[in-house]
């Protein structure tokens, strides 16, 4: 079945070799890197890293960094999208910037299309759409390193030089494998070593102390650093150590731009990246000026065309504050801004949002270009057991109507919407596995394709199960003879015609030795989308045949009355109804019921009247009639309606809200003795939160006051089996089922105060139930016949222990208390 864990949601992307390296990389980073760039949940982190690996395939790195030509030939997609960048950044050592012009506009931060590639496509996905921006480069060395590690061994060669001499990188031997025992960062501008590992530079350097590297690798690292845009100038120097290892010093000059005091964030998703016009080295100054002007113009147009982003004003203000405090805009500051903006997006569930660029540098306003993850396409895919894409049986509109509209093209992908889609689809109970994956759209810049992968459950299934049951004996205690073998045979045909229609049948007997004693069967047909699968109105048609056998609580003795001979109510019938769902919990059901009711005594023979043991030991058989007809068998048809309004929700695991239920049985005058009646019940429950609490996982739940009222009444023919019974765990606690009476009108009031303790709660309750003097209006007055009080109160305390409620309830009629264990909730 589907998992709700966010990790699952974004599971697929890492597969095969890509996944291996990805994982290793992660581990590596966990060990050596300082704090994570942002303390976001693993999903994000994982997603983030995966997507970075996506765009930072080593080949692209080398291709990019290797050719310092202004116009790199386009071997892959990335190169095609090379952008004009601040030349200042490119002046740095290896990455040659031919034109040392000053008129550059923006710093490309790399535009890796955020979402991870599809499984299997990870390795080659580099061409997919990864921008070759500097930022991606920041992470790319990690990748390279990870790869190196894969093949590398712990063996290394001594530098073979005298100790304590400084060696330039190009002086190192290309054949040796050097061990780097120490990495130092030297800021040339400040003239000091950078202390502390939190510095954002550390995450850019993929070299790790005690790693073993070749000269080529070190050179590649240097090229990467040089081309990342963070540094104006960067250099690597080795210092020999007596033990044969090298201490590496990264000396750098950070890139800076003129100070800015305004910040703007724009959404550049789905926009064409500006194409770089080649800067001809033979251009005259005038031409160059013209060229930069046109670029400036283009960029202004780009800002104008961009859509507003979701970033809220408070965060923007925060960034502005960062800019103002800093003075000069430095690469490190931009990195911090990027982290802050991305953190907000990722915290809010925009898992595919990425900062791709900072533009307009060297002006008063810093422009942050964000790809928020606009959905361009929604793909629904069915898979067989082996994961092959197959044509599904389920019709697509059935799935589409479960998807929140935030997943449709044109909206920004949010992980919460994905989770909701997952939940909704899961509630269809048609699929064994559900995945919702965002995937970068290769055809559209920064676009996201939401891919929903479904594994369908077997359409037909049959099941046989057996069990031993222990039936409570006479005194409510199980006896040896009461252990019975039972079993169920069921079959199910799901998803007929791909429209989620289903037929379900089951036959159950709790006593296989004597199955005719109680054989219960059930046959259900469910037909959803009665108004058409495209109609937003959600009505479901249901038809079912059923039978049931229940002990009637009407024929129960009051306190101090000897065991009352039980009366079993057997019902066999046919039921059809239509349920209209308004929300997940609120619904309106209406339909018809036709049933035959047979009342039986202990020996399974039909009985017509309740009986009572006489003091003389005999049985008085003149109790209340069990049926309307008086023959022990009633047949009737009636209409049934039920409307439920439920807006309860969980606040830190506790139910809060309101629930109203109105149930109506309307006799139609069809059946034995032409039953015509109106039987109605109204139940109102309020869960009142008594204290405001912060919502979130592991936060304590609030104390809750539960108020509950239940009124029931019947006008017209009322057979005893339809009389309301008072007492019992769902009526008035502290009494047995029906111990207080059976009546025509009923009123129950209850209050419960729930106080959270640790991760569960204790509660106090008080309840009262009364027959409103209507017991005498039930034929035969079963309340009086069995000497019941007709009303009663109880109060007590309890504690919730997992699923079980343990409570001590005092029965107010007799004043005695008892401890009860119950399953489930009272309300």
């Amino acid at each position: 079945m589907a998992l709700y864990a966010p990790a699952q949601l974004l599971s697929a992307p890492i597969g095969g070799a890509a996944s291996l390296s990805g994982r290793r990389r992660r581990r590596h980073s966990a060990q050596t890197r300082g704090p994570k760039p942002y303390p976001s949940p693993t999903v994000n982190a994982r997603n983030h890293e995966t997507l970075i690996s996506f765009s930072s395939v080593p080949s692209s790195v080398s291709a990019q960094a290797g050719d310092s030509k202004p116009d790199p030939s386009p071997p892959s997609l990335e190169t095609r999208r090379a952008k004009p960048r601040n030349r200042k950044t490119l002046i740095s050592a290896a990455a040659a910037a031919t034109a040392a012009a000053t008129g550059a506009f923006f710093l490309n931060l790399g535009s890796p299309p955020p979402p991870p590639p599809p499984p299997g496509g990870g390795g080659g996905g580099g061409g997919g759409g990864g921008g070759e921006g500097f930022w991606s480069r920041i992470f790319s060395p990690l990748m390279a390193n990870a790869r190196d590690e894969e093949g590398g061994s712990a063996e290394w060669d001594s530098h073979g030089l005298p100790a304590n001499i400084v060696v330039q990188l190009n002086k190192l031997s290309g054949l040796k494998r050097y061990k780097i025992s120490e990495i130092l960062f030297f800021d040339r501008r400040r003239g000091s070593l950078v202390a502390g590992t939190e510095d954002s530079f550390f995450e850019m350097v993929s070299l790790r102390p005690n790693g073993v590297y070749t000269k080529a690798q070190l050179q590649k690292e240097l090229e990467t650093l040089a081309s990342c845009g963070m540094f104006e100038k960067v250099d690597l120097e080795g210092k020999t150590k007596p033990d044969g290892t090298l201490a590496l010093t990264v000396s750098f000059t950070e890139s800076t731009w003129q100070s800015a005091d305004a910040f703007r964030c724009i959404n550049v998703g789905l926009m064409q990246q500006t194409k770089q016009m080649d800067l001809d080295p033979d251009m005259t100054d005038r031409e160059k000026l013209e060229y930069f002007r046109s670029q400036e113009r283009d960029y202004r147009r780009r800002i104008e065309r961009s859509r507003p982003c979701l970033l809220p004003v408070p965060v923007q203000r925060e960034v502005m504050q960062m800019l103002r405090e800093q003075g000069k805009v430095s690469a490190r500051l931009l990195q911090r801004i990027r982290d802050r903006v991305q953190k907000w997006y990722h915290d809010e569930g925009y898992a595919c949002a990425q900062v791709v660029n900072f533009g307009n540098l060297n002006t008063r306003e810093v422009v942050c270009e964000v790809v928020e993850g606009d959905i361009t396409q929604l793909v629904i895919q069915f898979q067989d057991k082996l994961g092959n894409v197959v044509e599904g049986n389920t019709q697509l509109p059935v799935i589409r109507r479960e998807l929140p509209k935030q997943l449709r093209p044109g909206h920004v992908f949010n992980i919460e919407a994905g989770k909701q889609a997952l939940r909704n689809i899961n509630s269809l109970a048609l699929f064994s596995n559900i995945e919702v994956n965002p995937r970068p759209d290769e055809k559209s810049e920064g676009g996201i394709i939401v891919e929903i992968k479904l594994k369908e459950l077997e359409q037909k299934s049959a099941e046989v199960s057996t069990e031993w049951s222990i039936v409570p004996g006479r005194n409510g205690r199980p006896t040896l003879a009461s252990i019975q073998p039972g079993g169920t045979v069921s079959f199910e045909h799901r998803n007929i015609k791909g429209l989620n229609r289903s037929i379900l049948g089951s036959v159950t007997s709790s006593n296989l030795l004597n199955p005719q004693d109680d054989l219960s069967f059930k046959l259900d047909y469910v037909h959803p989308y009665l108004d058409g699968v495209y109609n937003p109105r959600n009505r479901t048609f249901r038809a079912s045949c059923f039978n049931s056998r229940k002990l009637s609580p009407v024929f129960t003795g009051g306190p101090g009355v000897d065991e009352v001979p039980p009366v079993w109510i057997d019902r066999v019938g046919f039921k059809t109804n239509i349920t209209e769902s308004f929300t997940r919990q609120s619904k309106f059901t209406y339909g018809l019921v036709m049933e035959e009711i047979i009342t039986r005594d202990e020996t399974s023979s039909i009985c017509t009247h309740g009986s009572r043991a006489l003091p003389s030991g005999g049985l008085s058989m003149d109790g209340p009639p069990t049926t309307l007809s008086g023959t022990g068998t009633d047949r009737m048809a009636f209409a049934q309606a039920n409307i439920t309004r439920d807006n309860t929700k969980f606040v830190n695991g506790t139910v809060v809200g309101e629930r109203d239920v109105f149930q109506l049985d309307q006799g139609l005058g069809i059946g034995s003795n032409f039953p015509f009646f109106n039987r109605h019940q109204l139940t109102l429950t309020r869960f009142i939160q008594l204290k405001k609490v912060e919502e979130g996982a592991n936060k304590p739940p609030p104390p809750v006051l539960v108020l509950h009222g239940h009124y029931g009444g019947c006008v017209g023919d009322l057979p005893s089996y339809d009389a309301f019974t008072l007492g019992g765990p769902y009526s008035v606690r502290g009494y047995n089922m029906g111990e207080l009476g059976a009546c025509r009108n009923i009123l129950e009031l209850a209050g419960e105060l729930r106080i959270p303790v640790r991760n569960t709660h204790v509660y106090l309750f008080a309840e009262h139930g009364t027959d409103l003097g209507s017991s005498k209006d039930v034929k035969g007055n079963p309340t009086e016949f069995f000497r019941r009080a007709g009303q009663g109160s109880s109060y007590g305390v309890g504690a919730k222990l997992g699923l079980v409620r343990a409570e001590y309830a005092v029965d107010h009629n007799s004043g005695t208390g008892a401890v009860f264990f119950r399953f489930g909730e009272r309300f």
Binding site: V313, V412, L614, D622, F662, L664, F676, V715
Partner: protein
């Protein structure tokens, strides 16, 4: 089953001449006062072993019903009908109403069915004079009778206290004891039948003493007399006739009285109205509340942003 036949009242001849004369005089007077009264039905009820059957026998002057001294009698009521000079006297003897500390519903049920389609002129509620205390059980018996026949039965009833020939407990004079005992019994009836105090005082239930024992003292004309010297049989019959002529209606026992009003039929006509009310004022209302809920539902921030409602505030 009691004999449906109406036999000639021969037992009357067993009475001493004085008693006979008085009886005939009383009955004749009744016939004169109340028009076309030719039958009189007396229902005798009470707990077990208080002397109901003996009283019946005493009135009729013969062993019409068997008296079982040491065991509870059968569960069947007995009707003895005797006619004399065009006047029919029906006396219905019933089994004791108490069984094992509870009111015997079954017995009551049988009595009810037995009385179906009969008219009760007078109820004789029989108890013993020599019981000193009233308890909850008495009240339950009274309640059971009231529930069966309605409150009106008490306007047609007479309390009969048997074993009248007793010596009251020490220091109490016979009349005082009798007064106290009857007062206690009346109060019990009032509470058991839930009759309002005022209403009850208006129709004060008469209390009559009876002594069925063969050792009952007699006066000069061989009439059985009470300790105060009154011959009790004519006295009892006179009280009975007084009740008949007190203006209240005799109790007609029919199906309706036995079963009470059929609660299943009550309000049936209003069901369509109730249904309409429920649809318009309950179901519709809840539907509206659901709509409000949907409108008010707090959407998560990402949904609001998507709808463009966030206004970049969060």
């Amino acid at each position: 089953m009691s004999s449906p036949l109406t036999r000639d009242w021969v037992g009357i001849q067993q009475f001493p001449a004085a008693t006979q004369n008085k009886l005939l005089e009383i009955l004749g007077k009744l016939k004169e006062e109340v028009h076309n009264v030719s039958t009189m039905t007396i229902l005798v009820m009470g707990k077990g072993g208080v002397g109901k059957s003996s009283t019946v026998n005493s009135i009729l002057g013969e062993r019409a019903v068997t008296v079982s001294t040491f065991q509870s009698e059968g569960l069947r009521p007995m009707m003895c009908s005797r006619s004399r000079a065009g006047f029919t006297l029906n006396i219905i003897d019933t089994p004791g109403l108490v069984e094992g500390g509870y009111v015997n519903d079954q017995a009551l049920e049988i009595i009810k069915r037995f009385l179906l389609n009969k008219t009760i002129d007078v109820l004789l509620y029989v108890d013993r004079l020599d019981v000193y205390r009233m308890d909850a059980l008495d009240r339950l018996v009274i309640k059971a009778i009231t529930d069966t026949f309605g409150k009106a039965i008490w306007r047609r009833s007479l309390v009969v206290l048997t074993h009248a020939q007793l010596s009251p407990p020490d220091g109490l004079n016979y009349d005082d004891f009798f007064a106290k005992r009857s007062e206690a019994l009346r109060k019990c009836i009032r509470l058991g039948a839930r009759i309002k105090k005022q209403e009850f005082q208006e129709s004060n239930i008469p209390v009559v003493l009876v002594e069925n024992s063969g050792r009952c003292r007699t006066n000069d004309s061989a009439e059985k007399i009470l300790p105060d010297g009154t011959p009790w049989i004519p006295n009892l019959v006179r009280e009975i006739t007084l009740i008949i002529s007190n203006g209240s209606m005799p109790i007609v026992v029919d199906q309706k009285l036995i079963e009470g009003p059929n609660p299943n039929n009550r309000g049936k006509l209003f069901i369509p109205l109730i249904l309409a009310f429920q649809y318009f004022f309950v179901i519709r209302r809840i539907q509206r509340a659901i709509k409000d809920d949907i409108a008010k539902e707090s959407k998560p921030l990402w949904e609001l942003r998507d709808l463009g409602l966030a206004d970049r505030k969060f």
